[in-house]
């Protein structure tokens, strides 16, 4: 069963309902004891990186998640939740992340290499460029559009963690993963067919892991 981590940063309702519609069991909790019973974790997040890490540190959930991931429990971060999986960010000041995945979170500069300016936030439907079609997360997902809304993106040199990306002046990591840690920069619960397929794939992976 998927445990959705409730640490006060993010809208848990839509993602919960999406799992419900797909027919998977989940629960929402902020309690370590309860969350430790989950066979897979989901880390949502809307807001700033530094605030999110501060809360996770204060509540002890950071140490808990570190421990669970080290034990091999699957973790899926969504939106800011995905960015937290990386090393660091300078959103509202410097903050360290979980460092499960290599890379830094940066603000879109708003100007491309040729000096042409573009809009920030990256907001709207953008096409997935699938780098690892064999990843279980990409099952039944084509080069479809998904819904992004973010001003910061992950800059990583490790091509190995890129499952899919999107092009927005920069190469924007859209689906990432390594070992038992995964993330989507976009909101799967707001991304129509492709988004729901990715949620379903993760839920199935958690079930298989459980068996």
């Amino acid at each position: 069963m998927i445990g959705i981590i409730d640490y006060g940063m993010g809208n848990l309702y839509s993602v919960s309902k999406a799992l419900e519609r797909l027919g998977y069991d989940y629960f929402v909790s902020e309690e370590e004891e309860e969350l430790s019973k989950a066979t897979g974790l989901l880390l949502p997040g809307v807001g700033s990186f530094r605030d999110a890490m501060a809360i996770l540190n204060e509540t002890g959930l950071k140490a808990f998640i570190d421990k669970e991931v080290a034990r091999g429990k699957p973790l899926l971060g969504i939106c800011l939740g995905m960015q937290l999986l990386f090393e660091e960010s300078n959103e509202n000041g410097f903050a360290e992340g979980f460092s499960f995945l290599p890379g830094k979170v940066k603000k879109f500069p708003g100007q491309d290499s040729s000096g042409t300016s573009y809009k920030v936030p990256h907001m709207g439907w953008n096409k997935l460029d699938i780098k690892k079609p064999d990843s279980f997360l990409m099952n039944d997902v084509g080069n479809e559009h998904v819904y992004f809304v973010h001003s910061y993106y992950v800059d990583t040199e490790d091509r190995d963690v890129l499952i899919a990306s999107a092009d927005y002046a920069e190469e924007v990591p859209a689906v990432v993963g390594k070992g038992n840690v995964f993330g989507t920069q976009f909101h799967p619960e707001k991304s129509s067919h492709a988004g729901l397929a990715i949620l379903r794939n993760y839920a199935q992976y958690v079930e298989r892991n459980d068996a």
């Binding site: 809208n11 809307v46 907001m123 096409k127 707001k190 129509s192």
Partner: protein, 252 residues
């Protein structure tokens, strides 16, 4: 590449969609959730619900509508109308809306945008601007209270101020074009789009697929919003999107 968004807008009063909606085969043409489902199926990139309830009960009902829409649809949606304080934002965003849109309240107290952006992030904050061309000054003036009250603000200045306060997007309605079906206001949309660095949704005046093509090509709008053209089946979302694709616009 980021696609251009087509956004149908639904006016909701006391939990029911108002303005006639002409879809065949609907059980209840006034049910916002059922209509949202139809638009989702036709390829809406996003939805806007404008709560025009006059009563407190109506606003409460809107929260239920938001919850139902969020539970059933996998596309983003914005709720506007009656967003006057942080508490109002909390209610609709916690019920599952992705963004809130504010208009009069933001003009009366621009700090409201900042408060919402600090709490929920700029990506949730849509500032709706109703603007009208003014011959004497050769600029667009901002109106509030549903277009009834002229303000001191020039539309470009206000859009910049809204962005500075933390708006993540501008929903721009041309009062001159609204209801005309003669097309979006290209010069207004262009003026605002050139001034701000956040996305601009053009609204008012959509009468045909060509109007969407023009506002994307000539005014570089990021999204276009329309109501009656879709509600009355003058054209369909599917048709508009197909037409735009054929004409080289990036469309989902």
């Amino acid at each position: 590449m980021l696609t251009k968004r087509i956004i149908p807008c639904l006016d909701v009063k006391e939990g029911r969609v108002v303005k006639g909606i002409q879809f065949v085969g609907l059980r209840d043409a006034g049910d916002p959730v059922e209509l949202a489902r139809v638009y989702d199926k036709e390829g809406a990139d996003e939805l806007v619900f404008l709560d025009i309830s006059a009563s407190h009960e109506g606003r409460e009902t809107m929260v239920d509508v938001v919850r139902q829409v969020a539970a059933e649809l996998a596309i983003p949606f914005t709720v506007g109308g009656g967003i006057n304080k942080l508490e109002d934002m909390k209610r609709v965003l916690r019920a599952g809306a992705d963004k809130v849109s504010m208009n009069t309240a933001a003009v009366l107290r621009p700090e409201l945008i900042r408060e919402g952006a600090d709490y929920f992030g700029t990506q949730c904050m849509v500032v709706a601007i109703d603007a009208k061309w003014e011959e004497e000054t050769g600029s667009w003036r901002v109106y509030t209270h549903g277009g009834r009250t002229a303000t001191e603000w020039d539309a470009v200045e206000w859009a910049l101020k809204a962005q500075e306060m933390g708006a993540g997007e501008i929903l721009l309605t041309s009062m001159d074009a609204d209801g005309s079906k003669d097309g979006f206001d290209i010069s207004l949309t262009k003026a605002i789009g050139n001034a701000v660095t956040i996305p601009v949704i053009a609204s008012g005046g959509a009468g045909s697929s060509d109007d969407f093509l023009d506002v994307f090509n000539d005014a570089s709008a990021d999204a276009a919003l329309a109501a009656s053209i879709f509600h009355y089946k003058e054209t369909s979302l599917t048709h508009v999107k197909e037409y735009l694709k054929q004409n080289g616009v990036a469309i989902r």
